[in-house]
Symmetry: C2
Subunit: 379 residues, 2 copies
């Protein structure tokens, strides 16, 4: 298998070699349980705490504000269900957006079944939530607002600082799912003014199976899983030491290299867009032209279905929506919420660039996709 034309880095990234190298001693040599008081345990504990500091450093927060979870889905559930359970005495109203990942939308739906009221904010044609809409939706009994930092399908970045500021004024907590943005754009939890922020290891070159939740000091939060007292009681279970070490190494790596990474991703993505646009009349960008992840290119190919297009360019590994929806076959809910017509949504393909992507990959992918589109269009 060649990885040359993998353009689905929003679905998942490979583990960076230096991250795998950092993990390996914790897979093959150091194996203590961090809860054990003997030296094997204490060594594992030290590794976990070092990684916690590295993850905190990525988003500019205190070490003890990071809770490790098994994935971003679990972090989102902890943020939403945990805040709701901690604050149900203060109110039973939640606010979210129409384009959230199922890992946010599904716990919201669960709370609706439990008697909570959830207001779903619309997005504009570029996929953005209007701060005025949030201002109008906030109520005295709103306990939590959850709006994603960057959309996984179209890459649109939300005005989180502004939205979170509105929530704070009204005494509501603010959570953002930053699973897609970490490793692609700078993340500063204080500047974003959020109380809760989700990270996903496998979106920035750490392994699948590890995530983290930033919990601002003093934020009320109840656990979702119950057991022994790991992670200050917020996330029981023996710690996944190798993956936690990997998440720390990935965070450290991104923190050091981000400006260079962001610039290169944007240049390559825009080159791919340019090549495709000059060859395919009527090609349309889905998402915000500027305020968007630097690696994400969601394009509506005219007159064809995205699925057929990718089937005809099998050397290009990309997706027609998020990986989580791949099986569904239905039109993307994100594009629908943006008001994209069903016909245009049918032609959508998400191309997401990653750090291993080379300039030659961009050219090869462009040729393959142009060839596939011409082949289908001439049928």
């Amino acid at each position: 298998m060649t990885s040359a034309l993998y353009l689905d880095y929003n679905a998942t990234t490979p583990v960076a070699p230096e991250v795998a190298d950092a993990m390996e001693p914790y897979l093959r040599e150091h194996f203590g349980n961090p809860s054990s008081s003997h030296r094997f345990g204490q060594q594992a504990r030290a590794a976990v705490e070092q990684a916690r500091g590295q993850v905190a450093g990525l988003i500019g927060v205190d070490t003890d504000e990071i809770v490790f979870t098994s994935c971003a889905t679990e972090a989102n559930n902890l943020a939403i269900l945990g805040a709701a359970r901690a604050l149900h005495g203060r109110g039973r109203h939640l606010i979210t957006s129409a384009i959230e990942h199922p890992a946010v939308a599904a716990p919201m739906a669960h709370l609706t079944e439990q008697g909570w009221e959830v207001t779903v904010l619309p997005v504009d044609a570029t996929g953005r939530v209007a701060p005025a809409d949030l201002a109008g939706a906030l109520r005295g009994d709103t306990v939590l607002v959850s709006v994603m930092h960057a959309n996984n399908e179209v890459g649109t970045l939300q005005p989180i600082a502004e939205l979170a500021g509105l929530a704070r004024q009204r005494g509501a907590l603010f959570h953002t799912n930053a699973a897609q943005s970490a490793g692609k754009v700078a993340l500063d939890a204080a500047a974003l003014r959020v109380d809760l922020l989700t990270l996903a290891g496998h979106k920035f070159y750490a392994p699948k199976g590890i995530g983290a939740l930033y919990v601002r000091a003093g934020t009320p939060l109840a656990p979702v899983l119950f057991g022994a007292g790991q992670e200050r009681g917020l996330r029981p279970g023996t710690e996944n030491v190798p993956h936690i070490v990997g998440l720390g190494a990935a965070a450290e790596r991104v923190r050091q290299q981000l400006p260079e990474i962001t610039g290169r991703l944007r240049r390559q993505r825009d080159a791919l867009h340019g090549r495709l646009a000059e060859a395919i009349p009527g090609l349309v960008l889905n998402g915000h032209a500027e305020d968007r992840l630097p690696n994400t290119l969601n394009l509506a190919f005219p007159g064809v279905s995205g699925r057929d297009l990718l089937a005809r360019a099998p050397e290009v590994a990309a997706s027609v929506g998020s990986a989580c929806h791949e099986g569904a076959g239905a039109v993307s809910g994100v594009l629908g919420a943006m008001g994209v017509t069903p016909e245009r949504a049918r032609g959508a393909v998400r191309l997401s660039i990653g750090e291993p992507t080379g300039d030659d990959d961009i050219e090869a992918a462009a040729q393959a996709l142009i060839g596939a589109w011409r082949g289908l269009f001439s049928v």
Copy 2:
């Protein structure tokens, strides 16, 4: 750091080299998201499904009866909270034992706060639940019984098949936390007659951060986390492919080697017990003399505290209870439930043998512990 005198394999095991070897390609090479429909995704999907078959093979069940979780704590929560939520219309009574791990006891306590009634069965002096006690506690509104297969502190094995048979007669589901028994004794889910069974990777030479729940076909179960539809909707979140592959490899390995492993663990454990007993008058075994994990030796050292004893034998890495309780400093609740006196409980040390333990380690540990005891006793 030498691992020579690590005798805390019930707290956690190292990753077996062949397990780490099986994982490594999924850390360093194959990285697809199993939900992606392209070839990168499908290769990851195939690896996950192969591992599912290997885990199913370890306990003699169908492949699609295995749900991967991030740890045994999560599997226990899914079993208990998930069954309770799925069946709350049928009744709100649960039964468990007095010596469960916090990963079972804590979700039970959470359900108590939610209005459920939980009956806690006592254990005898060897740590066993009496089937007659369960028979007397089962009611028409009992929806779930959860009794651990083997106790983590004293190793006592419960008469699960008999207990589960009683539950089945009364229409209640039966869950067993087999986190400690997998890899040490044979596990046959059908023979045990259980509906739900928890496995913990890091107790049988797979990494920390992966577990599984056996869910017998047809068992009603609601999810605890909400998101996309992974694991048949029971456990959302992108799969931890490398750890799942590791769990599969560990299950395959144990399935092939178990009779030999069990015999050697028992021989070494009994040799250690014999050496200590001949040198230390009044040494007492905590737990069942026969029906016990072959690797577990919980001993009450007379006239000393277990903590002081281990402090004086720093080359021996063992524990005075379960790793999860290490920080607490209080006397073990397990020993208390068995009616062990506080004085005897104070002297308790858990020595748990593992596959890497050599006969020379047994002798060295015996000498160190005997020396430490004599040193303390003569003070």
